[in-house]
Amino acid sequence: MRPAALTGLLASAPPGADEALELTDRLDAVLTDGLARPGAEGARALEDLAAATGSSPLAAPVREAASAMGSGPVGAACLAALAGARTALTGAVHDALLAALDTALGRTREEADAPAAPAPAPAPELEGARSWLAELAMAGWRGVDRDLAAGADAALTPLLEDPARRRLAVLLDGLGAELRAHCPLPGDQDPPARRWSDLWARAVLLAQDAFPVWPGAPARQATGRLLPLGADVHQHPTAFQVQVHALLEPSDGGPVRLVRTSVSALKVDVLTRESVWGLLAEHTVLLRALAEHRALDVEGMPLLEGGDLLWDEGRAALGGPADRFAAARLHLAGAAAPAVPALERHPARIAEPVLLEGYTAKKRTRPAPGLELDLDGARLPVSLLRRPDSSSLDMKAAASSGACLGLMRWDAGQWSVQMLGVAAKKAPAEQTHTGDWALGPTDPKFATALRNSDPLGTLRERAGKLLRK
């Protein structure tokens, strides 16, 4: 990205974004106090939210929620409408931010297809999730007690059995763990209202009978060479996901496309840092490509509309060595970016691959300790929250880097870059990437510790004895 374009991007928010988020923040204040405890301010917030949905089908049920507040339970359709209205607003902010980023990057994005069709049949296994989410909304984040927080387990247990419900199960488990860790909130502590309301709204939508079947029908099949750019690592106490961003060179000679492929596993809290990669051991080809910095050849692999390859080891072969910085220099600027599926649009989902070079990394101490990349005077913060501890890409490697492959992110009113791989400033051939430990830690100290403790092996052995007796 050119520094001038970056300066422009960092200088201002897209028109309307602040106003849209002010509306969601006011809804989040209602969700903090709980729909069972209405105030004049809360009723006004919902009225304004209804007005913002204009003539859409959401307006009437949002108004109904505003008048139902305080006079008994708020109906399921009203709750879904509140979640829907909030999602529409955050979706619009996403679109505006992504358009500004695409302009700064000179990136061409595909047009979105029609939204996925609604799921055809009612899903009784979602009932528990819906009623837990309704109880949360009635109680408000301030009113969540230990028992209500623990209710996540009962809500998600029937969903764990069905791989098609994995998204909702993982989301409820993540939210539940946070509520258990913090609720009931001490009187002087504010809840992370935007975050928990984000998670709540997404969960309410995923828990609707009509939510489209996951992962949906592939738009096409991909055949060609896959050049990985880096691995984005996600984790909460009971889930681990690696999302590999890559460039796809189609074998039919079509334009190079940006794609992603995601593999995930359920886990338990004690599996952290060097022990998490073992959870994905079944995807050997993908992990080898990450650890050994290689390309991949894929043949007929299903590709979703949003640019997600459904990883299938049977349709992949390990290719030759592939330098990620070289691949990015050659193809990233001209690569076609996929459309974002309608129901996934949210600022937190923005993760656009970029190559940044010629910067000076500067540590800062205020307002909080952090790291910034100075590109000709434009200062781009590095997202440390997104720097995984399951890799050797530590603060030192980040601070002494002169080039990085990363993902542009936006949160709390500002852009940042999440580093996926860095090249040392003094010795550019020395690279460190987040997926370097995919086959095990490359640092002997961590490798020995992992061999000695082998937490995954120990727990699997226990599970074998106790669960299959």
Partner: protein, 161 residues
């Protein structure tokens, strides 16, 4: 919104770090239901496990096998299973967090206070904890997925510090 003006955030690290540890002796430990509780392997019989717990505040102690046989070593002071449980809880969560959860004597160092736990012996939540342990293990039995879980963008693998 001004650039670099940190407003409400979507992405935060909300669950305190848990540390990796050896799991042979104490495969399961949790701070829950007002207790430190967990499952401790028997030193002698391979199949047998003990469910041990210490209550917050009262420091009531409990220890029994998963078949509800009381631990012979438990008197007015912690038996070896409870001592192992506390040691591993400290490795898992950090001694400060364990001591705060149990509301130990604030005038003492966390480690010293935890080394000196004593309280009444009470029947413990053996069945509940053992069931939770089995549920915990069952997470590793579910197959993985190769389709994207977009919701995990809210849960980055890093820490803010």
């Amino acid at each position: 919104m001004a650039p670099h003006d940190s407003g409400p955030a979507s992405v935060l690290s909300m669950v305190p770090t848990v540390y990796g540890r050896k799991l042979n002796k104490v495969p399961y430990v949790e701070l829950a239901d007002g207790r430190v509780q967990g499952v401790v392997s028997s030193g002698s019989a391979g199949e047998r496990v003990y469910v041990s717990s210490v209550s917050a505040g009262s420091h009531a102690l409990s220890c029994a096998t998963n078949n509800n046989r009381p631990c012979g070593g438990l008197g007015g002071r912690a038996c070896k299973h409870i001592r192992s449980l506390i040691d591993e809880a400290c490795r898992h969560y950090g001694a400060e967090r364990v001591a705060a959860h149990l509301r130990t004597d604030a005038g003492k160092e966390a480690k010293d206070a935890l080394a000196d736990l004593h309280g009444p012996v009470e029947p413990g939540p053996t069945g509940v904890v053992f069931t939770r342990f089995l549920r915990y293990l069952s997470y590793l039995e579910h197959p993985g997925a190769a389709a994207p879980i977009p919701e995990l963008h809210w849960f980055p693998a890093g820490r803010s510090n």
